[in-house]
Assembly symmetry: C2
Homo-oligomer: 529 residues x 2
């Protein structure tokens, strides 16, 4: 689709990276081997791959699937497929075989690029793949081919570019389609000083798996301003990442709290300096005080960020307004634990049970509804789920939040995880937060289980750090005084590991199912009603 | 025009300022009296004015003219008129009466808001105003009226929002129309770390007259992120501005070199600390070493910026890439004197005389052509000028530049100001730069005057700082050794002041006309050739 008006597309980002930052580099670790290429070389690789894709019969609107971790080949596909007017579908490698099969068929992928170790899996499901006509090893991305540069930067901004899937804790994956314009505008937003502040000077460690919602949009933003990218390959362990941060002089890293906790542990035990970082962006689950304090030791700023697959994902980030300069250190930390202020362009409603907006008073809780330049207006080809989650052009997050007078959003709970005990709400997030503040606790998940008297009561499931030996009673004591009495869990169970879903969140539904009768039995055994 | 898709319009910026930065303020000086209002109050004022405009019969596409300096009333109009689906036309107060009349009629203004002191002038031209049906004092902006908030943030992004005029050094003003989308996207770009880096924490002194090309886009960018704005009213004198920078703790200021020179002089002579500034943005004319060094004394970063009315105006800004960290201090300064790197989205060609792109080698000179999200594709309602300056979707700047291997653009000359002497080009900019580096020289303009032997030879016109007493011969000696011998002007004339056009640039055409025979006479008198 060739148009005269200036189009906000990914080809423009690619060309800018090559023209103005051709000497800057991208570092990629593959099975621990380090490779480094310039943006100029990267550009040539992308154009060659566009040529190859055309030769493979990839056309406007074709879907191309990829099985890959955070490596150079994946990054080349991130640009080459959309710049061929086709759509890239990064398959979530943490999905079950059935979920992968479902998404590949639902996306109508025609070509698959598959990292070697996933070829057997793909062979297993091959007979059920409905539209796939070509399965190529991931290295085919590097095929030397006549480069195709015709109008790749003139693509209509409204053309779809990427397709990602999301699951709730369980359930059928739902697809979200992003246009070139969505991703271009999000890139601009991520480079603004008050958001991620991505700059040419940054060396960014790409810790968010690239099959997760555009790797938070960071690869496109980084290319737009010529920042250096560091790709860890398949290595997401804290020890490796801490080492890389030091060796590559990483200035910016984004990821989920668990990964940062592991990085801090590794840095401490191996005496690794994390001081090259200017900022860490923590999202996907609530930020903890331990992370703030852990990074403070290296003089590193921590910003909480918030987003979802449906939101491309940038919704909000927490930076301290100048009007908060008078807060005490303790108040500042409290403020820092909020989600933050919405990104420029993102609009927010907080909707109460009566369907009306609740006041922004820092107290009233409601469901977060969103609208914005890059926020989805539907699930891809999925009327049923679209009807559930999109209302009058708004996307319902099903997250419960409150907003204070200054506009800061505070996460309270997932609507479906909230516990209602004897008519009172209990925030599982708050209980988890205090559990995580105990030095022995590694992970914590609180769920509501059926209770004969109180309908539901909270039960906590925790994993401990190695060699930690805290008892249930000690942990319960630790919580007493910190929480409202009725928020104290009835039981704390120690597990070797928590069940996780494909995006690394605790699968609370599984816990609820498995331990459904726990409190019913308990009370029976103890003879209490 | 009500649409469902997310529209990038100024209403969105206004609403964000009120929702998330309602407690932040705007400071406005009016005849030296200081006023301060919050963004929340500002928002109410804008909505009330929208109501009033509707009552006045202002409709979608109506043009509203304004005669005002940088004050609160003007800022309210900046938002209220576009948010009424109408178009704001800020009349250039430095235009001649004839030029004002021409632009008001060409813009088809229906309503004029006029600052008191311009009412007599408007009365003079009233009988010739073709479409104006209402002339209101500027204070009518503050009329208390029922606020109108209906869908002001749902306006189509392609709707025109602002209309500014530009003149070359002389000639008929040409109009440039900006859409909501143009101004929204430029605002995002100005908040990116690597450009102006405008942030909530900034306190911005709005030194660029608001009738000049959207005041460089700064008011919209500032509102988008909730930065504090400081409006100096009609006071653009160095002494006042230096004082304001200190008193208002200004962190960011943008303007032309002359104004910054005056600020530095005043700060020095009155011992005013400019250290609250983080960055000054210098544009409109080439940056000088004196400004860089002057601000370095206060620890303030200087960034050259470049733009034109046709470009809304943000084209390029000069920030130091991390790959330049190894440069010597002297090399860094040299690099800093370049225009810089194009803004994200802005595309560049450098076109040689043969119509082909010249290499980006830091040596080859060509004309700068531009394209971009907010760059004009035509002059408003002016086919003749459009044909001259717009080619295949590119805007021809008529500025001669070179680009180095790293993508930095270096300004060489205005195409029409270039001197061709005996077949060789002489850069007037380079000669002016060296003249300005002399401590006694305040302003310098070099033009080519007809010469019997060399077709054209350079002649310099300078103004000196008070009490400076340098002679023509001393100045010529100062230049010798610094410039190629044939670049040394044939004469240096001292003027009490240089003629300026309406945007503050030296009216070289006037100098060329007035002194047309200077070298012809000179040589005759001296009996040479």
């Amino acid at each position: 689709m060739i148009v005269m008006k200036f189009q906000l597309n990914l080809g423009k980002i690619l060309k800018r990276a090559a023209n103005y930052f051709g000497e800057k580099t991208i570092v990629s670790y593959e099975s621990l081997e380090r490779k480094e290429i310039t943006y100029r070389e990267f550009y040539s690789r992308v154009l060659a791959l566009i040529g190859y894709l055309k030769a493979l019969g990839v056309k406007r609107g074709s879907r191309v699937g990829v099985f890959a971790w955070n490596n150079l080949a994946h990054l080349i596909l991130y640009f080459a497929v959309p710049c061929s007017e086709a759509v890239l579908h990064p398959v979530n490698l943490r999905y079950s075989k059935e979920q992968m099969l479902y998404t590949i068929n639902h996306a109508e992928d025609e070509v698959l690029f598959v990292k070697k170790e996933f070829l057997p899996l793909v062979a297993e499901i091959k007979s059920e793949l409905q539209r796939v006509r070509q399965i190529l090893p991931l290295d085919a991305v590097f095929t030397n081919f006549a480069s195709f540069a015709e109008n790749f930067d003139q693509i209509s901004e409204d053309l779809p570019a990427k397709l990602c899937y999301t699951t709730a804790t369980t359930g059928t994956p739902k697809g979200v389609m992003y246009s070139h314009r969505d991703l271009y505008l999000q890139s601009m937003a991520l480079c603004m000083t008050d958001t991620f502040g991505i700059s040419e000077k940054d060396r960014i460690l790409l810790m968010v798996p690239m099959f997760h919602v555009n790797s938070w949009g960071i690869p496109y933003a980084a290319a737009m301003v010529g920042a250096t990218m560091v790709l860890p390959g398949e290595n997401f362990k804290g020890q490796f990442l801490a080492k890389i941060i030091f060796e590559e002089k990483v200035s910016l890293a984004a990821g989920v709290p668990t990964v940062f906790q592991e990085i801090l542990k590794a840095a401490q035990s191996e005496n690794i300096d994390l001081g090259s970082l200017r900022t860490v962006l923590v999202g996907g689950a609530p930020l903890t005080r331990e992370i703030i304090e852990g990074f403070a030791r290296y003089g590193v700023e921590v910003r909480q960020v918030y987003g979802l697959t449906e939101t491309a994902p940038f919704v909000a980030s927490n930076y301290r307004k100048s009007t908060l300069v008078h807060l005490t250190e303790e108040e500042k930390k409290k403020q820092q634990l909020k989600i933050g202020l919405p990104a420029p362009g993102v609009e927010v409603r907080v909707v109460g049970k009566d369907g009306k907006d609740v006041p922004w008073d820092g107290k009233s809780i409601g469901e977060l509804w969103l609208k914005g330049p890059w926020i989805a207006r539907e699930y891809y080809n999925d009327e049923k789920h679209t009807r559930e989650a999109f209302v009058d052009g708004w996307f319902r997050t099903f997250d419960l939040v409150k907003i204070d007078e200054l506009g800061y959003i505070e996460f309270c709970d997932r609507e479906k995880d909230v516990i209602k005990s004897g008519g009172e709400w209990i925030s599982t997030v708050a209980v988890e937060k205090y559990l995580l503040s105990h030095p022995d606790v590694k992970e914590a998940a609180v769920v509501g289980l059926p209770h004969p008297l109180w309908q539901e009561r909270p039960v906590a499931f925790v994993t401990l750090w190695e060699q930690a030996r805290v008892s249930e009673e000690e942990l319960l004591n630790y919580l007493r005084g910190k929480l409202l009495p009725y928020w104290i869990p009835d039981r704390i169970l120690f597990l070797r590991e928590l069940p996780h879903n494909s995006v690394g969140k605790v699968a609370k539904k599984l816990l609820r199912e498995k331990y459904h009768d726990l409190l019913l039995k308990d009370t029976n055994e103890k003879g209490e009603v």
